[in-house]
């Protein structure tokens, strides 16, 4: 049986519980589900943020996330995978991204979810712009995120 993979880019919010249920419904081979939710923070270092706007590269974003999903499936014995990434204007407290990994055992599910998030942050073509009282500015990429992604590279 092929592994069910769902990848969606959308401006609408998503329901995490509903996505887990959709992945596991009727299945008896799944022993572990790990979810990661990325949520818009209301501020950074004391500066309040009114909202984030996520720009993306339609076409490439789907292709790139698809390539990450394929790699995760080749590296870990996953039995299901859902990735949802929102774009557009997102207010503090709202969801940005969801990764759901399912496997027979927890280790593969944990590791694949972490791998996928590290790669999404550094390789998926999305850009965050913050709105605050001071105006709007593009969020800078961090070397911490690059280092997190680099540790998954096979030497």
């Amino acid at each position: 049986m092929s592994v069910p993979v769902t990848i969606r880019l959308q401006d609408a919010d998503f329901d995490t519980a509903q996505e887990i249920a959709a992945l596991t419904k009727g299945r008896t081979d799944i022993g572990a589900v790990v979810t990661f939710s990325g949520i818009c923070r209301g501020g950074e270092g004391g500066d309040a943020i009114a909202a984030l706007t996520l720009e993306h590269y339609p076409g490439m974003a789907e292709a790139e996330i698809g390539r990450h999903a394929e790699e995760a499936l080749s590296r870990w014995p996953l039995t299901g995978l859902t990735i949802i990434h929102r774009y557009g204007r997102i207010a503090p407290g709202e969801n940005i991204v969801l990764v759901v990994t399912a496997s027979s055992h927890r280790q593969a599910a944990f590791q694949a979810a972490e791998f996928l998030m590290d790669y999404l942050k550094t390789h998926a073509p999305f850009w965050k712009r913050e709105e605050s009282a001071a105006g709007t500015n593009w969020v800078d990429a961090t070397s911490h995120d690059d280092a997190a992604a680099a540790r998954w590279t096979k030497s």
């Binding site: 590269y57 940005i96 998030m117 850009w127 593009w138």
Partner: protein, 83 residues
């Protein structure tokens, strides 16, 4: 070929996409950045620090030394900040 821009690269250049026809001497992604930079102040501003510019050809990441021959769509953008 079609060139597309995103985030602050798009804002600085002032357009999201355009069709360009570089001369044959423009062989690589880095060459194309150099050639675009000559097109005006906005381009020079967008590409003022070439090492931070990321590029993709036909929806896949590429390096500066990648050849552009045969490309349908080339994208330039800042480091990504999704997730």
């Amino acid at each position: 070929m079609k060139v597309v821009y995103f985030a602050w690269v798009r804002e600085r250049i002032g357009k999201a996409e355009e069709n360009v026809d570089p001369p044959p001497a423009v062989r690589t992604v880095a060459d194309l950045i150099g050639w675009l930079t000559q097109r005006g102040e906005q381009y020079a501003h967008a590409f003022e620090t070439p090492r931070v510019i990321r590029a993709a050809i036909d929806h896949a990441h590429v390096k500066p030394e990648t050849a552009i021959a045969g490309a349908r769509e080339i994208a330039f953008f800042p480091p990504m900040t999704g997730g």
